[in-house]
């Protein structure tokens, strides 16, 4: 069983919701990333989304754009991320890892080569922001054949017909984008989210995780009431941005931000 499915089935037994932090790999420099990942797990992360830095992150707001710029300035490449995952796996064999990013770096490596390497280092899922299911007919099966989950987004603008297609192709979990906009934008509205999740529940057994607009323990707890998982990105990346000159303090800060969310969600 894929680690993602395993994790959700454990959480279900425990009656808990998944807490899924996102950080951009290589931010503020590649040597810190694996340490941050372990810190996130210690603070209660159930799954880690590791961002692949890209020169043109069209779906991201300024916080993650700048994280990409910092990581790229340090020369972080997709192949380096795979090494980071391999290093992480030497210590942690249980926490699922999802690589999240844009298609072009994967295109350059080649779909099959990438899928082989990702599977061999212990990646569990892949979310390509600019690859909807309609464009995944070549890449999707290559992931599936290696036990890697192809994770897709659902947005407030997604029609029911499209949602059905996405549910049919999706694996691991569905990433529900809580608001129209880029990452790090306004705060979400939990009632609105609940309303959009209801029809998705009818269509799929996949866990429904919600991202965009989750800032603190309060919003995390609100979302956890209606969703199976809470995804938090910009709130963490912001802390990294604020402490680029004191990188040794970042792991502790990430733990405190995420820990507050964990406590609020489990209360």
């Amino acid at each position: 069983m894929n680690r993602i499915d395993q994790r959700f089935s454990e959480l279900k037994e425990q009656g808990r919701k998944a807490l899924i932090p996102y950080i951009t790999a290589g931010d503020p420099a590649p040597q810190y990333t694996v340490g941050f990942m372990h810190a996130l797990v210690e603070a209660g992360a159930d799954i880690i989304e590791l961002g692949v830095p890209f020169s043109d992150p069209m779906a991201d707001g300024p916080v993650i754009q700048k994280a990409c710029e910092r990581a790229l300035k340090q020369g972080t490449r997709l192949v380096d991320l795979l090494d980071m995952v391999a290093e992480f796996r030497q210590v942690d064999t249980k926490t699922p890892i999802v690589l999240m990013g844009y298609l072009n770096p994967v295109e350059r490596i080649g779909y099959e080569t990438f899928a082989d390497k990702a599977a061999s280092v212990g990646v569990d899922g892949v979310l390509v922001v600019d690859m909807p299911p309609e464009e995944a007919d070549e890449f999707g099966p290559l992931l599936k054949a290696r036990g890697l989950a192809a994770i897709f987004l659902v947005a407030p603008t997604t029609s029911n017909a499209r949602a059905a297609t996405i549910c049919a192709h999706g694996e691991g979990y569905l990433y529900y984008v809580s608001l129209k906009g880029v990452t790090g934008a306004a705060t979400l509205n939990a009632d609105d989210v609940a309303e959009h999740l209801a029809p998705l529940r009818e269509m799929t057994d996949l866990p429904l995780c919600v991202g965009f607009g989750i800032r603190d323990g309060v919003t995390a707890a609100e979302v956890a009431k209606v969703a199976d998982g809470v995804i938090v990105g910009s709130a963490l990346v912001n802390r990294i941005a604020e402490s680029v000159d004191a990188p040794e303090t970042i792991a502790g800060q990430l733990k405190s931000v995420l820990g507050e969310m964990r406590t609020a969600m489990d209360a």
Partner: protein
């Protein structure tokens, strides 16, 4: 991916893209989910109106009475004679209202925006010509208009920035990335994803996600349809060659598309050679055989490094300063229908000056790329042969750039 490019026949090229927006292995709709609905809606709106005689009549009426079409096909006799070869004919898109071919497309998309009832339009712009053309149609239809422009381009195209503001548009300088056209497009996409309910995104070139490459091509094809008729009337036959500059590639596709099945008509797309192909400082993905990649919603030839990060580009002309190219051009390169070449900044400036001196026509620096290749091609041909060059825009906006190179300050 669907069919491989090499299986495609020239006659198939008129039937692209397929239902999912693919041009052979290129094109498509690589966007984040939030935009999928808006693109499906736009596709349906466009497909339902494309063959609607009332819509076509309204479009034609605007092109005639607002843009001033048809634009002339002008025989540049003196310049042809001095080059000592083929006769050069200029398709005078520079004489359109707002001074470039860009307005053909913005008129069309503004009509679509009107049909969808959205009160706000946004656009990305490089040289500012598309921004001006968008601000113009927005003013005419009473739509709110925001234009994203790379901060570097805001600096080098001050005149067009002020024109847009006079027209009532807000110009938003984009400071991220390389501060040029690609970054403006990123920011426009971010705006659209946030304001998708009330905003129509008027993309200015034959790139972006499906259906943009198709509809921008179709709206610009009036250029080639006219040029074809005018050639028959004025030359007495079809021309031997067509030349157009290629950034995203909208003026080139506009001219080329109606000739695609005329096998005897050679076609040349001229990319921005910048400081010279050998320096790496250029914006010429096709003529340098850049790898395939995905950016701004489509798969195409894309300048990127080995890790898949999009490369910095360089060109004297802001309008060609883009690392990708329309997906239909990518296919046309693979099947060999169009030859793609590059002209460097120095050759472009020479062509700019030559046409200005010899014909009294000041071309946009973008269009001067096409002229630079005409200078190379014409002397290799006979005086009874004919080349049509798309003079896609006028050069007023570039006077400051050229003056700076000449060391002149105002």
């Amino acid at each position: 991916m669907t069919v491989s490019a090499t299986e495609t026949k020239f006659s198939d090229l008129t039937r692209m893209p397929d239902a999912r927006g693919h041009f052979g292995p290129y094109g498509g709709r690589f966007v984040s989910e939030t935009l999928s609905f808006a693109l499906e809606e736009l596709e349906q709106t466009y497909l339902s109106l494309r063959d609607d005689p009332a819509f076509q009549a309204e479009f034609d009426r605007d092109l005639a009475h607002y843009v001033g079409r048809p634009s002339p096909l002008y025989h540049a006799e003196r310049w042809s004679q001095s080059l000592g070869g083929a006769q050069i004919w200029l398709k005078r898109e520079d004489l359109n209202h707002t001074g470039a071919h860009k307005v053909n497309n913005t008129i069309g998309q503004a009509l679509l925006a009107k049909k969808t009832g959205k009160p706000r339009v946004i656009a990305e712009t490089g040289a500012g010509q598309h921004g001006v053309a968008t601000a113009t149609v927005a003013a005419r239809l009473g739509l709110e208009c925001d234009v994203y422009m790379g901060a570097a381009d805001v600096q080098r195209q001050k005149l067009n920035v002020y024109r847009m503001r006079l027209l009532g548009a807000r110009v938003i300088p984009v400071e991220s990335g390389t501060r040029t056209l690609k970054d403006a497009m990123n920011e426009a996409l971010r705006d659209w994803v946030t304001n998708v309910d009330n905003t129509f995104y008027i993309i200015g070139t034959v790139a972006g996600p499906h259906p943009y490459p198709q509809l921008v091509r179709d709206f610009n094809s009036v250029v080639g349809r006219e040029a074809r008729q005018q050639s028959l009337a004025q030359i007495g036959r079809l021309p031997d060659a067509l030349i157009a500059c290629v950034g995203g590639g909208s003026n080139a596709l506009g001219l080329f598309y109606p000739f695609v099945e005329d096998d005897a008509v050679a076609m040349y797309g001229v990319e921005a050679g910048g400081d010279g192909i050998e320096t790496g400082r250029h914006a010429a993905p096709l003529s340098t055989n850049a790898p395939r990649g995905v950016l701004h919603g489509n798969r195409t030839y894309l300048m990127s490094d080995e890790a898949g990060q999009v490369s910095d580009t360089h060109s004297i002309s802001a309008g060609l300063d883009y690392p990708g190219v329309g997906p239909e051009h990518a296919l046309w390169k693979d099947v060999g229908r169009v030859s793609y070449v590059a002209a460097n900044d120095k050759e472009v400036l020479e062509a700019f000056r030559e046409l200005t001196h010899m014909e009294g026509i000041m071309p946009a620096l973008e269009s001067a790329h096409a002229l630079a290749h005409a200078k190379v091609l014409a002397p290799t041909m006979r005086p009874d042969q004919h080349i049509v060059v798309n003079l896609s825009g006028r050069g007023d906006k570039d006077i400051m750039t050229v003056a700076n190179i000449d060391g002149i300050e105002f």
